[in-house]
Symmetry: C2
Subunit: 290 residues, 2 copies
Amino acid sequence: MSPGKSRSQVRIALIQMACGVDPSENLKKALSRIKTAAARGARIVSLQELFKTRYFCQTKAQKNFGLAEKIPGPSTETLSKAARASRVVIVAPLFEKTPTGVYHNSAVVIDADGKVLGKYRKMHIPYDPWFYEKFYFAPGDLGFRVFKTRYARIAVFICWDQWFPEPARLAALKGAQIIFYPTAIGWKPENPREIKLYHEAWETVQRGHAIANGVFVAVANRVGLEGKLKFFGSSFVADPFGSVLCRASSSREEILIQDCDLGLIERTRREWPLFRDRRVDAYGGIASNA
Amino acid sequence: MSPGKSRSQVRIALIQMACGVDPSENLKKALSRIKTAAARGARIVSLQELFKTRYFCQTKAQKNFGLAEKIPGPSTETLSKAARASRVVIVAPLFEKTPTGVYHNSAVVIDADGKVLGKYRKMHIPYDPWFYEKFYFAPGDLGFRVFKTRYARIAVFICWDQWFPEPARLAALKGAQIIFYPTAIGWKPENPREIKLYHEAWETVQRGHAIANGVFVAVANRVGLEGKLKFFGSSFVADPFGSVLCRASSSREEILIQDCDLGLIERTRREWPLFRDRRVDAYGGIASNA
């Protein structure tokens, strides 16, 4: 397989990393892996959620706000140079600080010429005895966007978003071909049975989005033990009929490479013409909690 | 396990049948199996899509309209007596003829005292080189209802509906605890690889609905070879986290019995509070094809 052999064939890469305490080291590692992925022919590279830092949301500490930065800002600029140098699209999740002092769990999308196409701000914010995301992140205010990159029309949603049918549906209706879900999901390592159960549900619900919407789904998760949580990796790509095309290990760092035949989207939707039969007259109530 | 040992425990049954050419024989078989299921403690029994007839949609023939009947009508009355006699809730899919000469692929829901609670009319109608449903059935006009039966709040959707996230979401928001999907899905027996693929996607997308909405999903499919199609059975029940609790064979007639702990719905939603974090401000666009 050579990249770009057909217009509809796009090679993507998911960077599954373990993160250390030093953000600049994590960024350096990410840049090096982006370069490797590009050398292996990848045209779109996704990093995992909050790839520059440890998953700091396990504690509530004012000092953690110091990890945030503006978008665009220093990391965006560095990544932008990398995108241009390697001619790859980059999906880079960052802890974002806004001028008004509001913080978001965001992702910047950079095109293959280095141009910043825009950003996504995580819309669904979880909160659990084990992670305090609602303490750090205001819910996103930019909606569910689709980014027209050089190689594909993509949507980027982040972690908890992946459990909701609405973002995937809205993105597909707006023309997304690949939905990236940068993620940081893990659980207590002393509960392997629960990890297995959560992993299974997590993969299944996202495969369901692929099937219901006839899109590729590409999920980059982190690995490694941080505090009480073991992040379970298992990054994967599913095709528009929900088949898992590749899956990373649950504990090792990996660069997961996958060719996606975008032509499969139209072929799948012709065979399973779900969009044709939608009842746009009857879904109004979906917007409201009853 | 004894049925009704706790208020939240409900035993359900899915009748997976092969259908012959004589509707009265199919009805007789269904009644006998409902009785057996009730004797085994089932409190809600679901039949498969169009259980009274063969899957006649493989051909376009005016004479097939003669198979339709009113709801309520003769079959509803017979089933109503059976419900009262066995004290079971019955979900019975029927080919419905309306007074205006419009036909629907419907299901009647009968409470355990024999009272007709209402009907559902299939909202999403497929059409394929292999089955002409749009020829026979007008798209449903009753929306996505929830029926308050004696033993649980249930929604009933039919076959093709199961590929869409919206019905499941709307039903869950209206309080459904179990979503029944009576089905007639099959494929050409000379394509076992495709049957495997379709079965996998079919089960996955419905497990996804269970996970995203924290509800039980219960799917009764038919078996047997009819014309060009082998119906692949594999009726199943999934819990609110998408785990498959039981699954029938792909070729044998079966009465699939499963205890559903409705308390699991609230426990799952507390652990995975997806509804809490929905962005009701941001889903408006879901109603429209872009």
